[in-house]
Symmetry: C2
Subunit: 228 residues, 2 copies
């Protein structure tokens, strides 16, 4: 099995990156072995290896020092490149994002139902109702939608989830437009949001979780994203 | 219902923060209303409001300009403060982290079982076996443990998950020591890891997910973290 839709050089670049980040075979600042050695080690041609190195140079993982060789870029730069800081700018796959939402948001709704203060619950319901109005008036609902989901994340009382949510939404915001042209999607959104609000109001954690899962699955279907 | 173990001023600080980040009632660079107005609006005393403002100043959300008033700090700084960039340094609650792992890692194991290339599966099993050896020899297994979980995240072929995992582990690393003094925890870890590896080898996604969930639940029990 190989990773789908990838060139051999991309797979080799991936393998080299794992040798640095997971295996720690090469550390920051290290010089890579020469081409003959490394291509033999990875069982690829020198042409493919060179292409893989070019990819990692473009991603600031490696750097070529003229007349010296190929080096792993220093710690700080590599850490930044591979920190979540870059997540909102990185061209993130819509499918990857929605898979993450599918993991993350139903459980957020679960914890929110259990832990929201009365004030936090009020805020969630406020934005839920605002979004509903905007949908019915066919107005732009992007901000109310984000506020609704952020308010839920806040009510989990889990600082990690609370901080992850805006990052997730920044990435969604850049890559994805809410597709309200399709009447079925609009009706699903209205219905799902009402269910989420109803279960949260009753502090029914399992209900809120299931309604949120349905909501994300509906969105995924809307984007034509299928499980594999 | 109010948020547990918090002072009134902390709750007010929280509310003010939500008025900025969720409600967008105050934007970056805005001057806050005067104390009388704001304390009436929030239905708290001026003393409590001042304490709440002090908390947000300490967290770089607000700044006091002498003789001018209290301002919401500018966009860039606030975004950085509340981006995941700070997650690895922020003093994260162990419970928050483990809740996040419990959401995130079972599903990672599920996708890894379905999507890992043969090479990625090899890498997972290599680190799983290495860790097993180290546990039996009572050697430090921190690095093998991290490599095992990172290799699983990589095999999800989901770039978001792949990038989230190191951040999660950096945070865990700082806050938590693997407690191998307890023989029960050691035996559970050995057993759980073997199950995870077995299900992954058979590409049994539901099995791998369930074994991973058990593994995290065992760790949570080891830390005395209970659901609420």
């Amino acid at each position: 099995m190989t990773k789908k839709g990838r060139t051999l050089a991309e797979n080799v670049a991936d393998e080299l990156l794992a040798m640095i980040t997971i295996d720690k075979k090469f550390n920051y600042g290290d010089k890579l072995p020469n081409e003959n050695e490394l291509s033999a080690d990875l069982q690829v041609s020198r042409t493919t290896l060179r292409e893989a190195i070019r990819i990692l140079v473009a991603h600031h993982v490696l750097e070529i020092k003229r007349g010296k060789g190929t080096y792993v870029k220093n710690n700080r730069e590599l850490n930044e490149e591979f920190s979540l800081k870059g997540l909102s700018t990185f061209p993130m796959d819509v499918k990857d994002l929605y898979e993450m939402r599918l993991i993350f948001e139903p459980q957020s709704a679960y914890y929110a139902a259990k832990r929201a203060t009365d004030k936090e619950l009020e805020r969630i319901l406020y934005y839920g109702r605002l979004e509903e109005e905007q949908i019915l008036k066919k107005e732009d609902r992007t901000e109310a939608e984000q506020a609704f989901h952020k308010a839920i994340a806040k009510a989990t009382h889990n600082e990690f989830m609370n901080r992850l949510m805006p990052i997730l939404y920044q990435a969604i915001d850049k890559g994805v437009l809410l597709s309200d042209t399709n009447e079925e999607i609009v009706q699903n959104t209205l219905h799902d949001h009402r269910m989420i609000m109803e279960f949260l109001s009753k502090r029914d954690a399992e209900g809120a979780k299931t309604a949120m899962k349905l909501h994300i699955l509906h969105a995924m279907r809307g984007f034509g994203i299928t499980e594999e």
